[in-house]
């Protein structure tokens, strides 16, 4: 008896489903608590296939940012803990790793609200992005970032804190690219940006996937834009995945159309005509 016990527990601990071969990042049955009391994520499983763009949609407070923080290993700075489940990167459980180790392995995120190092210059911000890389690598990446965002090159010696929102967003993305990630997670990259700039940023995201074969996890409020470029989408509500599927299928879903794309049976309606604020979503009822 005593000799069989360890093996059996070990067997039980091994997940049943072997990770799909082309799955770069996977959240498995994740449950996250803040302050040991607030359950921000209930039971979420998300798979991000290698080389694709996965969109993560959901209303305010659904827990999107929380998932990204968990992925980057910085939940602990806000008294958050992963209660259950695992985060697997290239088939390996990584949720116990420190943020610097995760970056080294190729996971990086552009945090919500940009968070550039305000007192540092653009060059120095980029240098910090390349912190985990050698100087030669960093130089090479920086040239690539400058090629992607010529505007950053123009203003490379400027203090980042005084740049406009769009420029800061470019810097934040550029800085993340400096780490040479395999997986780039973007937390609301279009937040506060002018339409023209959003176009540019989305172009860049598509190019990153197509040219650099980068995998992208895209958290977005602008469902239209996100689903336009994504291969697959998840919709999160109050800490749970309520709907997922290939983005084409999602776009066709009636609820998604109504609540996320603003299109009703009679086509896109003007916001002036919206009458009631509070409606129940069908997937919740």
């Amino acid at each position: 008896m005593p000799t069989t016990l360890p093996t059996s527990t070990h067997a039980a601990a091994t997940p049943q489903a072997v990770p799909e071969r082309d799955c770069l990042l996977e959240f498995r049955n994740i449950r996250i608590l803040y302050d040991n009391a607030i359950e921000a994520i209930r039971d979420v499983s998300i798979a991000v296939p290698d080389g694709g763009i996965v969109a993560l949609l959901g209303s305010n407070g659904a827990g999107k940012s929380t998932l990204l923080k968990a992925m980057s290993g910085i939940l602990y700075t806000e008294e958050g803990v992963i209660e259950n489940g695992s985060i697997r990167f290239r088939g390996e459980d990584v949720h116990h790793l420190g943020p610097d180790e995760l970056v080294r392995r190729g996971i990086v995120q552009v945090p919500e609200g940009r968070r550039v190092f305000a007192a540092l210059t653009i060059d120095e911000n980029l240098q910090m992005g390349g912190y985990t890389r050698t100087n030669a690598e960093a130089r090479e990446r920086r040239d690539r970032v400058f090629a992607l965002f010529p505007r950053l090159h123009e203003r490379r010696d400027q203090i980042a804190g005084y740049m406009s929102g769009g420029e800061q967003q470019m810097l934040a993305i550029g800085r993340a690219l400096m780490t040479d990630p395999a997986l780039l997670a973007l937390d609301e990259p279009s937040l506060g940006l002018a339409p023209l700039i959003i176009d540019r940023i989305y172009e860049v995201i598509v190019r990153l996937r197509d040219e650099l074969k980068m995998t992208v996890l895209l958290v977005e409020q602008n469902a239209q834009r996100a689903l336009d470029i994504a291969d697959y989408g998840y919709i999160l509500e109050t800490g749970r995945v309520v709907l997922d599927g290939p983005s084409k299928k999602l776009v066709a879903n009636e609820d998604v159309q109504e609540f996320y794309l603003g299109i009703s049976a009679s086509g896109r309606k003007s916001l002036r005509d919206v009458k009631h604020y509070k409606r129940r979503k069908r997937w919740l009822s």
Partner: protein
């Protein structure tokens, strides 16, 4: 009709940078106006000057018959100007209720001594303030987070609290800086509805900065466009949509087309 807000030749320099250059615009009472323009065009800076956060380098702002240059910045709220902030400026250690109550500041009178004793006026005042706050909470549908500490709320929830706080000021003019950024379609619709109701039911004039064209085009009466600190266009949403300069500087070719198309669809 005389304008509620009349800005004339307003400029702001930061060192060598001309953030706002010679901007003039007017907002009539009861209007919903939008300010749009590329990132860094000087929109927030304009708001900062109207709300007293920054002093203009030159030019004047007339509000409700007074020249704002003649009163200290902290009186702007009492004069009737309320605003929300682009990058959230909440009192993040306080609860939602406390944050909104702070918005009532100019409508309360009690002094330190009244506060220490806490009866009579102070108590009455606090009760009525609390009453109003509860109404606002109900109006904006944030009952469920009423007692949450603001710092722990999600971005979009915090934006709503900002709006609530600004409403608690009972302003005549409400400045909304990118209210719907970070909100999804449904929430954007909610905010659009709120803004319309704020104007229609509370009679508050609204001036908003937005990058989200749906809300700008759908609900504003007038749109002003800034680029590099200068005003490059002004008009009804339809005028703006057709303006080639705006399309080039801000909307982008295909973008303007898309918005045009969808709205036309709705009109049909």
């Amino acid at each position: 009709m005389t304008a509620l807000l009349a800005i004339e030749n307003l400029s702001k320099r930061f060192g060598g940078l001309q953030a706002v250059a010679d901007v003039s615009l007017q907002v009539a009472p009861g209007e919903i106006c939008s300010v749009i323009g590329p990132n860094g065009a000087g929109k927030t800076t304009l708001f900062n000057m109207i709300s007293g956060v920054l002093r203009p380098s030159s030019g004047s702002i007339g509000f409700d018959g007074i020249d704002l240059a003649t009163i200290p910045p902290w009186r702007f709220a009492a004069a009737g100007i309320g605003r929300t902030f682009q990058n959230l400026a909440l009192f993040k250690h306080g609860t939602v209720v406390e944050n909104i109550l702070t918005g009532r500041h100019t409508h309360l009178r009690s002094t330190v001594l009244d506060a220490v004793l806490w009866f009579g006026r102070t108590r009455r005042e606090e009760i009525s303030a609390r009453q109003r706050v509860e109404h606002i909470i109900e109006f904006l549908e944030i009952e469920h987070i009423r007692d949450a500490v603001v710092g722990t709320l999600s971005y979009g929830q915090q934006k709503r609290v900002e709006l609530a706080r600004a409403l608690a000021c009972e302003p005549k003019l409400l400045l909304l800086d990118e209210m719907v950024s970070g909100m999804n379609q449904e929430e954007t619709e909610d905010i659009a509805r709120f803004v319309l109701d704020i104007r229609d039911e509370l009679g508050i004039t609204v001036l908003m900065i937005e990058h989200e064209m749906r809300i700008v085009m759908d609900i504003s009466d007038r749109v002003h466009v800034l680029n590099f600190g200068r005003k490059i266009a002004e008009g009804t949403p339809d005028d703006i949509r057709r303006d080639p300069a705006v399309a080039e500087a801000y909307l982008g070719g295909n973008r303007a087309a898309t918005t045009a198309r969808t709205t036309t669809g709705a009109d049909a």
